[in-house]
C-alpha cells in the first residue's frame, strides 16, 4: 500500500517535474562574441540582439510592418509641423540586475533602498551619452535629426543644447531639425534607449560586465564568459503587457563562429535554433525530408548590390553600366549560387522598407523577368546597348570588379564574371579582392580614380526601415556616401542626377507618407533605370532552422521573449 503510494507520487512527480521545476532553456548560438552590450556603442547584429533583450526602447517595431508600436512609451504625439515628438512613458518598469549570491534577479535599489523606475531622465541621459563625443558611439549619426545633435557630437555645440527634454519624470520631448516621418523608428533604436547613469558613472567602460550591469528588459544577463558563452535569465519584474508571450526562462548562448560546427551542434541537439546553415549544405537540407521541414526562409531588410564608379571610363557611359546590370542573371544567382531563398532585386531598398518600390514592373523589369522580359531578351538588348556604346561583343572593354574577401562574395563574383564573359566574349573582366578594411578605404569617393575599381560590391542593411536610410544616406550625390561618384555635372545623365538629389533630399524633410513614397518611387526609377549607379542583385533572406519543439517570431532583431519551446516534445528529442 505504502509502496504503491510512493510509486504514484513518483510518477506524478516525474510528470509534473518538467513543467514546474525545470526552467525552459533555450540553447542559442550568437555566431560570434558580442563586441559590446552597451546600447550607446552597439553597431553589429550580435550586440544589438543582446541589447534588445536587456534594454527596452521608447517604442518597438512591429514584427511584420515595422511600424512603431508602444513599448516604454504608452503613447506619443507629433506636433502639426512634425518637428516636436512627445512620448508619454509608463511608470511600472524598473531597473533590475542579477544577484549572483542570491541566484536571482533583483531590483536595483538606490541609496535610500528604493526601487528605481525607468524615467524620462534615463532616456535623456541615454541620448546625450550616445551623442557625447567622449563616448565614441559609431551610431550617433542616426540621431543627427534631433536639434543640436550634430553639433554636440562634433564637439562644436553643447550637449545641453540637444533637443531632448524630460518634461516630467515620465514625459520626454524631442525637437527635430526637419519633420522626419521616420523618427518613430529612430526612437526605437538602441542608441536612443534609457541608460543607467549611476551604474555607468560607477563602473566606467566595464559597466556592461554581468556583475555591474543594470537593465530593464525581458532578460537579465547572468554570466558572460567572453568569447565562450553568455547566460541570460528572464526578468520576473517586467510588466505583463511588455512580455512577448514566450515561455523561455533561460537563454544559454554560445559564440561559435564556424557555420559547419554550429550546424553539427544543431544536428546533435546542442542548439534549439540555428541562423544560417552552411551554404554547401543547403542542397542536402532542402532534399532531406526532416531537415527541410525545419528550414524557415524569411525576407531580411538588406540588399546585395554591385556599384558602378560613374566617373571612371568606360563606366562613365550609362549604356555600359546598364548593359552590365542587364546581363546579371539574378534568378540563376539566387537559385544556383546563394540558394537560400533570396529574391532577385530590381531596386535598392527591399520590400519592408518604407517608400520602397521593390519588384515594381515599372522599374528595371529585366532584372525580375517582369513585363515580358526574360534573361535571353535582356542579353540581346544589353549586347545592342554595348555595341551602340562602341564595344561590339565587348571588344576593347576591360573591367575590374572588386570585392572584399569572403567565400560568399567570391562565389557570386565568379558567377557574374562568367555571365558577363558569356554575354560579351571579347571583353575582359578581372576580379580583384581586398581585405575588408583596405577595401572600404579603396572604394570611398576620396580615393584617386586610378585606384578605384570599375565595379564594387556592397550590401546595405537597414539601420531603420525608411528609404531615407537607403537612397539618401547611401547614394545622395551631395549628402550621402555617394560611392558611385554621382555628380550633376555628368555629361550623360547630369539632369537625372540633379533630380535624384532633389527628390531624396526633399522626401526626407516631409512628413506626409503618401507624398514621400511618391518621391522615393521616382528616385528609385532614376537610380536603377536611367542613372544606373548600381545594379541591385538580390534582397537578402533569413535562413533559420528550428527544432520541431522550437517556435520563433520574425522580428528583424530577435525578441527572445516571443519565442517558445515545447518541453514535452524536446524531452522526446
Amino acid at each position: 500500500m505504502r509502496l504503491s503510494k510512493l510509486a504514484v507520487l513518483a510518477v506524478v512527480g516525474l510528470m509534473i517535474w518538467p513543467a514546474f521545476a525545470a526552467p525552459v532553456i533555450l540553447n542559442r548560438n550568437l555566431g560570434t562574441e558580442p563586441p559590446t552590450a552597451d546600447p550607446a556603442l552597439g553597431e553589429d547584429t550580435t550586440s544589438i540582439e543582446i541589447i534588445e533583450q536587456m534594454f527596452l526602447g521608447l517604442v518597438d517595431m512591429d514584427e511584420i510592418t515595422m511600424a512603431p508600436i508602444p513599448e516604454l512609451a504608452a503613447r506619443w504625439e507629433v506636433s502639426a509641423d512634425g518637428l516636436t515628438w512627445t512620448f508619454f512613458m509608463r511608470s511600472d518598469v524598473f531597473w533590475v540586475k542579477y544577484d549572483a549570491k542570491a541566484g536571482q534577479v533583483v531590483y536595483d535599489l538606490d541609496e535610500k533602498g528604493q526601487k528605481r523606475p525607468v524615467t524620462a531622465h534615463d532616456v535623456v541621459y541615454g541620448v546625450k551619452r550616445t551623442l557625447d563625443p567622449d563616448t565614441g558611439s559609431n551610431y550617433a549619426y542616426v540621431l543627427y535629426i534631433i536639434e543640436g545633435a550634430l553639433e554636440a557630437n562634433e564637439g562644436t555645440g553643447s550637449l545641453d543644447a540637444v533637443g531632448v527634454k524630460a518634461l516630467d519624470a515620465y514625459t520626454v520631448r524631442f525637437t527635430l531639425i526637419a519633420p522626419a516621418g521616420y523618427f518613430g523608428q529612430i526612437a526605437s533604436m538602441w542608441v536612443a534607449r534609457p541608460q543607467p547613469q549611476w551604474a555607468i558613472a560607477k563602473h566606467g567602460d566595464a559597466w556592461i560586465e554581468p556583475e555591474n550591469i543594470v537593465t530593464n528588459g525581458s532578460y537579465v544577463m547572468k554570466t558572460w564568459v567572453h568569447n565562450d558563452n553568455l547566460v541570460f535569465v528572464r526578468n520576473p519584474y517586467i510588466p505583463a503587457a511588455l512580455w512577448g508571450g514566450g515561455n523561455i526562462d533561460e537563454v544559454h548562448c554560445v559564440t561559435i563562429v564556424e557555420d559547419s560546427t554550429e550546424f553539427a551542434m544543431y544536428l546533435n541537439n546542442e542548439l534549439d535554433t540555428l541562423d544560417g546553415p552552411p551554404l554547401p549544405e543547403m542542397d542536402r537540407i532542402k532534399a532531406d525530408p526532416v531537415l527541410s521541414k525545419q528550414l524557415n526562409i524569411r525576407p531580411q531588410p538588406c540588399t546585395y548590390y554591385y556599384g558602378f564608379v560613374t566617373t571612371k571610363p568606360p563606366m562613365d557611359n550609362p549604356d555600359v553600366r546598364k548593359a552590365l546590370s542587364m546581363t546579371i542573371d539574378r534568378k540563376t544567382i539566387v537559385e544556383q549560387v546563394t540558394k537560400g531563398g533570396q529574391i532577385p532585386a530590381n531596386t535598392f531598398a527591399g520590400g519592408t522598407i518604407f517608400g520602397n518600390a521593390a519588384l515594381s514592373p515599372e522599374i528595371a523589369p529585366w532584372a525580375i523577368d517582369a513585363a515580358g522580359w526574360d534573361y535571353d531578351k535582356a542579353v540581346t538588348e544589353a549586347q545592342r546597348l554595348l555595341a551602340g556604346a562602341g564595344y561590339p561583343d565587348g571588344a576593347g572593354l576591360e573591367i575590374i570588379l572588386m570585392h572584399n574577401v569572403s567565400e560568399g562574395h567570391a562565389r557570386i563574383a565568379q558567377a557574374i564574371q562568367a555571365m558577363w564573359t558569356k554575354a560579351f566574349p571579347k571583353a575582359r573582366f578581372i576580379i580583384e579582392t581586398q581585405e575588408w578594411g583596405t577595401y572600404l578605404k579603396t572604394i570611398t569617393k576620396e580615393t584617386p580614380i586610378e585606384n578605384v575599381p570599375h565595379v564594387y560590391r556592397l550590401g546595405w542593411c537597414q539601420d531603420y526601415p525608411d528609404q531615407n536610410n537607403w537612397v539618401h544616406e547611401v547614394l545622395n550625390p551631395t549628402l550621402g556616401e555617394n560611392k558611385p561618384r554621382l555628380s550633376a555635372d555628368d555629361p550623360y545623365v547630369g539632369a537625372a542626377i540633379a533630380r535624384f538629389d532633389e527628390l531624396t533630399t526633399q522626401a526626407g524633410r516631409l512628413s506626409d507618407p503618401v507624398e514621400r513614397a511618391k518621391l522615393y518611387f521616382e528616385a528609385e526609377k532614376l537610380l536603377i533605370d536611367e542613372i544606373v549607379a548600381i545594379a541591385p542583385i538580390y534582397y537578402y533572406s533569413y535562413n533559420i532552422m528550428n527544432k520541431p519543439w522550437m517556435t520563433r517570431k520574425w522580428h528583424d532583431t530577435p525578441h527572445w521573449d516571443t519565442w517558445s519551446i515545447d518541453m514535452e516534445l524536446k524531452a522526446k528529442g
Partner: protein
C-alpha cells in the same frame, strides 16, 4: 680518418666518377625516390603546359587542349556539384559547375610555384646564413642569431596584407620596369607572388637555425679537427666537410616544409588572403568547399589528395637526396 681517405679518393684517383654522378647513381637506385622524382617532374610538366592547346593543324578539327580538358573558370550553373564519374566530368564538378579535374590540374601551378619559390629561397639563404653563423666567432654568431630572433617574431600576416594592399594599388597605375615585371608575375599567380616571397623570407630563418645547430654539432667532430690540423682553410672545411654533413637534415627539413608552404597558402585562402578567384589553387579549393565536406566530399578530398600525393613525392625525393648526398655512403 677512414672517412677522410675515401673522400679524397673520390677526387678522381680511385674511380672515374665525380661525387655528383655518384650521388645520382645512388638516387636512382632508391626506388621510392625515383618514383617521387618522376612525379615531381610530371607536376612540373603539368604546371608549365596546362593551358597549352594542340593546334588544329595536327589532328584536324578544332584546337584541343593538351592537358586540362576545360578552362578553370568555365562555369556551368546547371551542372554544379556533380559527383566523380559523371560523363564529361571524370572527377565531378564544383559549386559553380566547374570541372574539378581541370581546376586541380591548374591548381598545380600555384601550389608548385609556392613550393619551389619558397623552398629555394629558404634553402639557399638559410643554409648560407646558418653555416656562417655556426662557424663564426661566438660574438658574430650571437648577433646573427639575435637578428634571426627578430625576424622570427615578425608578424607575417601583417606583412602579407601590407604587400597585397600596396602592390594592388601599384598595379592599377600601370607600373613599368622591374616593378611592372613583378606585378606581371603576381597577376599570373593569382596575386600570390608576394606571398611566396614572404613565405621564403619567413622560412629561411627556420632553415638558418637548423643549419646553425647542425654546424655547431659537426664543428666539434674529429674529422674537422684533423682537417684543420692538415691546414685546410675555413672555406675548404665548410664546403668539403661541413656542408656535405649537414645537408641531409636540411634537405629533409625543406622537403618536409613544402607541405607546410602549400598549407600556408591554404590557410591564407581560409582567411581570405590567398589567390584571387577564379584562379584555382589546392588550398583555395579545399578552403572554399570544406564546409560541404559531408554533402559533396569530393570537392574537398580531390584537391586534398593532390596535395597529399605531391607532399609524398617531395618527401620520398628528399629521403633519396639525403641518402645520395651523405658522404658516409659514398662509393657504396
Amino acid at each position: 680518418m677512414a672517412l677522410q681517405k675515401r673522400t679524397m679518393g673520390a677526387n678522381g684517383e680511385m674511380r672515374g666518377r665525380s661525387p655528383t654522378q655518384d650521388a645520382f647513381r645512388r638516387l636512382f637506385r632508391h626506388r621510392a625516390a625515383t618514383v617521387g622524382a618522376i612525379y615531381v617532374l610530371l607536376l612540373v610538366i603539368v604546371a608549365l603546359f596546362v593551358d597549352t592547346t594542340i593546334p588544329a593543324a595536327i589532328f584536324g578539327g578544332e584546337a584541343r587542349p593538351l592537358i586540362a580538358p576545360k578552362h578553370f573558370a568555365e562555369v556551368s550553373f546547371f551542372e554544379r556539384d556533380l559527383p566523380p564519374g559523371t560523363p564529361g566530368f571524370p572527377l565531378g564538378t564544383d559549386y559553380l559547375g566547374r570541372d574539378i579535374l581541370s581546376r586541380t590540374l591548374y591548381g598545380t601551378r600555384v601550389s608548385l610555384a609556392v613550393a619551389i619559390v619558397a623552398a629555394t629561397v629558404a634553402l639557399i639563404v638559410g643554409l648560407t646564413y646558418g653555416v656562417i653563423s655556426g662557424f663564426a666567432p661566438s660574438g658574430v654568431d650571437n648577433a646573427m642569431m639575435r637578428f634571426v630572433d627578430f625576424l622570427y617574431g615578425f608578424p607575417l600576416l601583417i606583412f602579407i596584407i601590407l604587400m597585397q594592399a600596396l602592390f594592388k594599388a601599384v598595379s592599377r597605375r600601370g607600373a613599368t620596369g622591374f616593378v611592372g615585371m613583378m606585378v606581371g608575375i603576381d597577376k599570373a599567380l593569382g596575386g600570390m607572388f608576394f606571398l611566396f616571397v614572404a613565405l621564403g623570407i619567413l622560412n629561411w630563418i627556420g632553415m638558418a637555425r637548423l643549419a646553425r645547430g647542425q654546424t655547431l654539432s659537426v664543428k666539434q667532430k674529429e674529422y674537422i679537427e684533423s682537417a684543420r690540423a692538415l691546414g685546410a682553410s675555413n672555406l675548404r672545411i665548410v664546403f668539403r666537410h661541413v656542408l656535405p654533413n649537414i645537408i641531409g637534415p636540411c634537405i629533409v627539413s625543406e622537403t618536409l616544409a613544402i607541405p607546410g608552404y602549400i598549407l600556408t597558402e591554404a590557410f591564407l585562402s581560409f582567411i581570405g588572403l590567398g589567390v584571387t578567384p577564379p584562379t584555382p589553387s589546392w588550398g583555395l579549393m579545399i578552403s572554399e568547399t570544406y564546409q560541404g565536406l559531408r554533402t559533396y566530399p569530393w570537392e574537398t578530398l580531390i584537391p586534398g589528395a593532390a596535395l597529399a600525393t605531391t607532399t609524398l613525392a617531395f618527401n620520398f625525393l628528399g629521403d633519396g637526396l639525403r641518402d645520395a648526398f651523405d658522404p658516409r655512403l659514398r662509393g657504396t
